[in-house]
Amino acid sequence: MLTMIRLELKKMLIRPISLMLILMILAVNGIILLLNNEGNFVTLQDIEMQRVEQSQYAGKINENWIGRIHETLKMIRENPDNLMSETEKARVRKEYLPRGYTQEHVENMDRTAFLKPELLNSLSYNLLLDAKYSAEFYNHAQQISDMQEELYRTVFEGKKGEDLATKAETMYGYLAQHYIAHYNYNLGWHKLNFMQSLMPFTVGLFLLVTISTIFSREYSQKTDSLILSAKYGKSRLIYAKLLAALILASGIWLTIQVMNLLVIGWLFSLQGGETFVQDWVVNSSPFALTQLTNYIAVSVVSFIGVIFFASVIILISAKTKSSFVSILISSIVLLFPVVIPLPGAGGVAGSIMGETMLFMPVRILIAANHFTFFRAYYILGKVILMQWVIPMVAIAASAFMVTIAIRTVKRHQVEN
């Protein structure tokens, strides 16, 4: 069995296209790791500066911490050295009037409107503003709690609405009232989270090219008659192929994850693992997860996603008789949710489409977005979180597809 697995892996990996793809993927992933949000190469100096500046506010977000942040901000804003000269203030006031502001408003504008541009654009001031925004963590959590509660009670009537609202209220309520959030420098963790969105174009692409051929190539290059007439051709070989595909999928996924962790750890550092994940704009996670625990949760779901992704390819490979067709169909089926822009649809259609997207293997492979909002299903009178349902569905669907693939290969008839 080990020889079969080893040689199946060799079959998939030794092809020139596979080798080229590995190098390309590692290179692209490596380059993107070195870029910042603006697409420029990051420098160790800039990162270190941010780390030092932000680290000085590290700590639990409690009344003392919030008070300290407000006090610091107040001191900066009241420092006359940070304020514009009277001439500049007059110029600023003058600029406001043509924009529709009243004379009274302009006369009563507070100091923040007259801070020097060099302060406004400075890293230290912006990080302080970030800390101030973080100080609103509990208020934001409470607002989301109230909104979600109202939403579920309005959209769903009766016990379903009540149960869903209670669940949302409980989770966000915990964040608002009992959870103690931490603040610290955590750029590395944000970068790690961002790198998850590249998974379809690294891990996904590699699997599409390598695993798509696992069965279809045997049919197309007419080795099926040799293998199926061999003693273990309809039994152990199929399992060896499946294991090889799963090893390959896990291996490339792990390689990319380890590469990301090592490069990000070296470049950005993994400081701030204890910080909260919510920004309350694109990430309103109801979970009391830190960057570290969130990364673990995302990785677990992403790993299930890669297995799901590979299982779809395996099934398509077993069903198609040409490697090219297998790659083509797999690419279309698996990558369309991230490559092809879907037309915006509202109402029921939009809702179904949005819901379906959550269950797409490629979305599960990314996984990061699944932990950024509250979603729960009301199943048999119980509220079950989407974050539990999706891995369960992915595992069940993977098992089902692999079973169908095994059956298909076992029943394959060599006809032409």
């Binding site: 060799k10 079959k11 020139p16 007419k222 080795t223 008659s225 199926l228 003693k231 051709g233 008839q413």
Partner: protein
């Protein structure tokens, strides 16, 4: 050991590829002769358990091969007419792969690979990728993989395609040496492949078993139908259009014709002993 084909039929749409075919194979070399499209490959695929028959069954010592499953395939060696290979594999990897597939323990597999690659003359180039091999080398590799598990039932579909005369002779010797105590089925439309080594010959036509006998008796059915005749060169076309001319040889001013015909082609024609090629032409005259 007895391999029995029992009323086997395989139908593709309205076309009968194998039509109520029944035969019993015993130990020895069984040659299966037939023109292209006569159903040989389909029959062999069914015998190799890689194609389901529409009806009928293949029994090994009275047990259906689909019931025997792995136990049957363990005894089987198969060389298909057109088989693929893994272009980036070396011959060594290819052989090891099939050793594993056929359940050979690692050490046995390595010894067997070495022995067979040596036999087919590929041991020296075993580390080279198969995509660099010539057609003949690939065919020899195919033969080696078919023998890797020392099969008790060996099914060879057009095994000498792509081999040069020297390689074909060597192949015949390998199979002859190997045949003792085994059932070998060798399908071909190259008559000389089976003429020298087969113990029994079957002729398959339109999916049916047209004739079968031991090699020394197979030609008996046409013993009165093969003629030798000397004609003038201008008359050759006339004979060619009316009869099956199995051989044509210029002899001085005249041309010596070997004709397969149920009726005497000429008063001057002399009856001669038939050979397997005459028999083949007799059966497949419309398809040659």
């Amino acid at each position: 050991m007895e391999l029995k084909i029992n009323n086997l039929t395989k139908q593709y749409g309205s076309k009968l590829a194998v039509d109520r075919f029944s035969v019993t194979f015993t130990e020895g070399i069984n040659g299966l002769l037939g023109a292209n499209g006569s159903g040989k490959t389909t029959l062999m695929r069914i015998m190799c358990d890689i194609l389901r028959p529409t009806s009928g069954e293949v029994l090994l010592d009275g047990v259906n091969i689909t019931t025997l499953d792995e136990a049957y395939r363990e005894l089987l060696g198969y060389l298909p007419q057109y088989f693929g290979y893994y272009p980036d594999f070396s011959a060594w990897d290819f052989m090891l792969y099939f050793s594993a597939l056929k359940g050979l323990p690692k050490l046995t597999a390595e010894n067997r690979c070495k022995e067979l690659l040596d036999t087919v003359g590929l041991y020296e180039v075993r580390k080279k990728k198969i995509k660099t091999y010539s057609g003949g080398m690939r065919q020899r590799l195919g033969i080696a993989q078919a023998l890797i598990n020392d099969p008790k039932i060996l099914i060879l579909d057009e095994p000498t395609v792509g081999l040069d005369p020297k390689e074909r002779a060597k192949f015949r010797n390998i199979i002859s040496d190997y045949a003792i105590g085994k059932i070998i089925l060798l399908s071909t439309h190259i008559v000389s492949d089976v003429e020298y080594i087969a113990d029994r010959i079957m002729i398959m036509k339109n999916g049916q078993l047209s004739q079968q006998a031991t090699t020394d008796r197979i030609c008996d059915s046409i013993k009165d139908f093969v003629w030798s005749l000397q004609v003038a060169p201008k008359d050759v076309d006339s004979y060619n259009s009316r009869f099956i001319v199995s051989n044509l040889k210029h002899s001085g001013e005249m041309v010596e014709l070997r004709i397969v015909s149920e009726e005497r082609p000429s008063e001057r024609a002399a009856n001669v002993s038939p050979n397997l090629e005459d028999l083949y032409l007799y059966h497949f005259k419309g398809e040659v």
